[in-house]
Amino acid sequence: MNEILDVLKQPWPWYVAGPLIGLTVPALLILGNKSFGISSSLRHICASCFPANIKFFKYDWKKEAWNLFFVAGILFGGILTAAFLGSNEPIQINENLRTELASYGVTDISSLVPTQIFNFENLFTLRGFVMIVVGGLLVGFGTRYAGGCTSGHAIMGLSNLQMPSLIATCCFMVGGIIMANLVLPYILSL
């Protein structure tokens, strides 16, 4: 039993995690005809909490409540993993990335989210504000404008061979590549 737990505590390789994530698609379909997608939960939160008479938020969000249960589950999954399946090993990252980040003062690689950038004090610095708040705004605005995120387009959409999803996924990647390579270095050195 302990041996199994030890294996589970290690970071899981891509060939284990990827197929398991792929299986979420048929699991949700077979459990109740639900199309896999996460960013719509943000829309349901808007619709339920502050619809403000906006047409886009005027729909029966209670019918989509399953999606809110799903994301609540993801949150609990995070809590459970941190409590029982945490790994004691240091996080492995690419050497070039490590060197580059060190030049921006990001040296603490003890957690999956770099605490030297993402913390409450940094909210009041330009770098922290752009990465935490502006980044979040772009995620929320962009996913809804695109009609889905990595789950809805890249996984569910591509699984169903949808051309718009392929276009959206390519644009996610192009946007990310531009930001990470051309813009982020300037933001990190703020």
Binding site: T24, L42, G73, L112, V113, V139, G140, G142, P164
Partner: protein, 182 residues
């Protein structure tokens, strides 16, 4: 008498037209939206949703253990410094594709016996503009919407601010939606 009757029919017709109009706009909104389609026509009490909570929990555990919620993994992906994320997304899509094909080919039903429906997506310019904007945000925050929830779960509490910003971003999109190119 006749005229009153007429009036009544008129108003009834108007009412139907109004209802249709409302329904149609809603449908249009939804058809633009890739993932916001609830396909089940069954009505269940709320606790039926607990099974999605369970799927979410398993999904959240995979997210964390495969380091998909890692800001570093996202940077490595966009800088072509690691194969990990490409392997995860690629194999997830392969398994998803095969699953969808099997469901269609063998006409597999839901556990309640409903026919599983698929909705084709229609291209609109938002797929490009929104996609690029989300890409910028993904590289900044190191998280797409799913990992945001998992990151908070692992104790990165400041990510609550990122999540709230994402909700505001979604709201702002809804507010300006009619004026944006689609």
């Amino acid at each position: 008498m006749n005229s009153t009757e007429n009036k009544l029919t008129m108003s009834a017709e108007k009412q139907t037209a109004f209802v249709n109009l409302v329904e149609n706009t809603d449908f249009e909104v939804r058809s633009l939206d890739a993932v916001c389609v609830n396909d089940s026509h069954l009505k269940h009490p709320w606790y039926f949703n607990l099974k999605y909570l369970l799927v979410g929990v398993l999904f959240g555990i995979i997210f964390v253990k495969a380091e998909l919620i890692s800001w570093y993994r996202i940077q490595e992906m966009f800088r072509f410094q690691s194969f990990h994320m490409y392997g995860v997304i690629g194999s997830a899509v392969m398994v998803g594709m095969i699953s969808v094909w099997v469901i269609k080919r063998f006409n597999i039903k839901t556990i309640y016996g409903e026919v599983i429906e698929f909705h084709p997506k229609k291209f609109n310019k938002g797929n490009v503009y929104g996609g690029l904007l989300f890409g910028f945000g993904w590289a900044l925050t190191g998280a797409c919407p799913g990992p945001l929830f998992a990151q908070i779960g692992t104790g990165a509490l400041v990510v609550v601010v990122t999540l709230l910003s994402a909700i505001v971003g979604t709201w702002v999109y809804g507010y300006f939606r009619e004026r944006l190119p689609h």
